[in-house]
């Protein structure tokens, strides 16, 4: 389940430990009080990827296992949270002056 990997920000060949570490880091970052939606997504993703069997099952069926036609696509969209990228002052001026 590709979106789950995006939510936990781990690679497809991540180990149980890597997945767990990422999960623990993210639930600290997105607590239920701060960001309940992301917290839910992180928990759901961890449930789906926490053991090897589930990961393999996800690999076998992938997007084919979604229930409704649009579910998988929206799941993908929801899994992606653009990360802020520190840019330099000149880049800001350049962007400001862009047409």
């Amino acid at each position: 389940m590709l979106p789950y990997y995006f939510v936990l920000n781990v690679s497809e060949d991540a180990t149980d430990e890597e997945i767990r570490n990422s999960y623990l880091r993210l639930v600290k970052q997105y607590t239920p009080e701060k960001d309940p939606l992301r917290f839910q997504q992180v928990t759901e993703a961890y449930e789906a990827l926490q053991n090897r069997r589930r990961r393999i099952l996800g690999k076998i069926f992938g997007g084919l296992s979604t229930k409704e036609p649009e579910d998988g696509l929206w799941m993908l969209a929801a899994s992606l949270r653009p990360v802020r990228r520190p840019v330099g002052l000149q880049a800001l001026f350049d962007a400001e002056n862009e047409d």
């Binding site: 069997r53 069926f61 992938g62 997007g63 036609p69 993908l76 992606l80 802020r84 001026f93 962007a95």
Partner: protein, 925 residues
Amino acid sequence: MAAKKKKRKEKGTYKQFENLSLDQIIQNVEDTLSSENPRDALYTLKFATKKFGESASIRSLFFRAYLLREKQLRTKSLHAEADAVRELANRFVPEFDQMPEAVLADYISAASGKKALEAYAGYMKNGDRSSKIEQTLAYLMFTGRDWKAVESLEADHPLRQDAGPVQKAAALMNDAVWEQALDALNPISRTSPYASIRVFCRAMVSFFRGDDKAAARALEMIPPDFPLSRTIGQLKRVLNPAVPEEEKKAAMEAVGFLWDGPVNIERDIRHLIDCIDRKRFKQAVETVHAVASAIHPSESLRVTRWITECLWRFSIVERMDDYDFQKMVQSLLPKEIIDPMFMKIRLVMSIKPFTSAGSYISDLSKEFPDPEERKLAHALTLLHTAMFLNLQDGHMQFRVEHPLIGRFRDQLGIRSDTYEGALLDMVTHSIGIDPGNRKAYEYLAGLSRNSREDKKKVESGFSVMLKEFPDDPFPCLELASLFYESNAFRKAENILEEAMKRAPHDARVLDRHVLSLLISSEINIRREKFHLAERDLDRAAAFENKKLEPFVLEKKLLFDLKTSANELEPDQPGTKKQISLFGERRTPATLIYETLAEYSLYDRLKVMSLLRLDLDGKKLPQKTVLLKSLDNLLGKELKAGVKALGSSQVFELLAPIGKEYDPLYESIHPAPLLIKRSKALLNVLSTDDALRLYERILLPSLYKAIIKDLRSRAKEASEKDRRLLDFFRVTIDHLSGKKEDSDLFYEVIDEVEEGPALEALRALSRRLSRHAAGPLRAALEEFDFEILDETFGGFPGLPFDLDLDDFLPRLEKLFGGAEAEEDTWDEDRLFEALEVLSKIGMTETEAFQDELEWVIEEAEDWVDSLDIRGYPNHLIKQMRNMLFKTDPEAKQELNMIARVLEQTGTQSNLSREGQVLLFGKARKK
């Protein structure tokens, strides 16, 4: 054309000003500039110059108008145009000390550092310092034009004094180390001309830290003429929680360089869906590629694959044709990925689940090069397929695919010739490959295991679990159940001892232990080994298990009744009174009464209803007397006490007692015997409890009572409950065969609007579907009752070609003999057989009696596999017509078989359904 328009406009404007004085025109220009319309001001000024000549005031206004226009152009990022306008403005530069503050600020904002400082020096000749202009100068320095210029200022001038830290911070900001830049800006005070730069830096630090509130607060403090005003404006929108999500996304996109990855993927997904729905597949393919590259530039193929897999669902619900989907797949994915994907689609679709699983497993090495992962994938695929088949009732599928399964014997592990055996084979094979998967064992426990062989397979599976999970009592409990089913009581008890060792305080283990003692006592009572039965019952009672107490009591009563049956006298009216007086005469009723006297009404009813269930299946001396006594007592208790019971108590009394008690009772349904004795019980139930209960006790013998209760409840129920009650009633009408009309369902459904109420109906419909069969089941499952009206749709999802493939090869075997090839239909041989039968005529059919009987048997099996037993003739005929229409060969072959049966006079040996299927009509037998 544009020139003409301009001319016309100028002409029109001039006409307007022809009669005005210079002062009036100047006032007009002032007004136009105040309303920020420099172009109109310039037109007017040109007219004024022509009419009155160039005066100082007109020059000053020209200057202001050009500056304003320049500013506007810069806001629109038209810098080349702005520079050109600045050149024009420079022709009209007035004396700086005559310039208003705002105009000078505008002039300075686009001047070089040196010129700007000169202008400011000129402005200061006759006046004080201007903080606004100094701020503009600070911005000018900040944008990096000319730091050296400030050195011309006096040493204590704030612009020069604070220039050092700002210059250092600007370099750090350029390197995107905003926190260090903020530290560098520490010496800048709030009154400094550079103060806004510090606030901006603080805003950026908060923004990159993710502290949106602090960032938004800081951004609010920055003046609107700050050099990065556009970026700041967009950021403010992004960080403002009150801004609508769509607007926020658009703002994020405008400053997308501040994020990694796509900032508005929702818009792209919406576009993709829109392209699919509008059948713009080329655009859809482009969008998928664009989205995939934006999400994961280095691994865009993974994303493309996921999106493509998701798009497959669109073809399933017919939002896209299969052909278009396949074409899209070819444009999106490389060939080496396409084949495995379609293999998986076949696996998910499960049209031929056994062979699809076999093919997929055979090809696993490509997708799972790691042997350990491959093993797990193999085991999981087997389990998935078995679970799918069990859900769908794959009997027919197994028969259809049976000839092909041999090809995948090793992959699927199937050795059995029965469907149930095949499922067990697959699950135990899965367990053999991956013994650590608990799900496989849980699933194994739920599979049917009627034959001895099947039981052995289950036993072997749980024996593996016994070793694999040494602390878990679950395999012990399952093995105990299995041993009880096989009457291997000693083994069952031993394995339960093991369960006790593993989890002595586990409630499941304790319950199971008491139950096993009850089962043992039951067997000993049956064998009349009463001393052993008594010992078992005492041991069971010693557990003091609250959950099983009624069962222990009931078995004790049964034991007492059985051991003292010959000493008991038939009940007489007034028995209870005589007991209290003399205490000598014992009847069944007094025995029951004495045993249960100290218990509550609910417990008494529970035990008596269990005893009634138990007696039904027992051979007892004086059974009639016992039953009569018990029925009287039960009737009296119910009559006297029903009103004292609560809804949940009645629910518990009437609900089925649980599958685990199967070995103890003939039936697990006490409801029919209790409702028969007191219909008032149903009145005690709340509507919620009634609906929950009826779903569990929907037995044909109770249809009438339930319908009556549903009707009476509906009269007084709330709107929501009334619909549920009506829907339930209509479903029972259909289950009982009294009604067959989709309108009855729609009368209920149409009253409900989309929302929770409709969802509740939908959920009820799905739950009730398990009580139905055929089209009604499909209609309830799908919540689509038009299925009931459809003709061909009356047989949803039946793969006719496959069914016929199943039927014909076996007939071929009959007529073609052992030499016939396995997968081909030897028409010639059948014709030969037909000819022989035609020639010998009806007089000598005895020679072919076995073969003919076999044909009939197979045809009947076919009818069963199609699940059309009990369907009306017209529906079966429509199905036959459809089959003939879609498969002319099948028509020919079935007609041939029909002729054989007709000529030999054996047609009437077929069931009605078989006759209609083969002949189109049924003959009376």
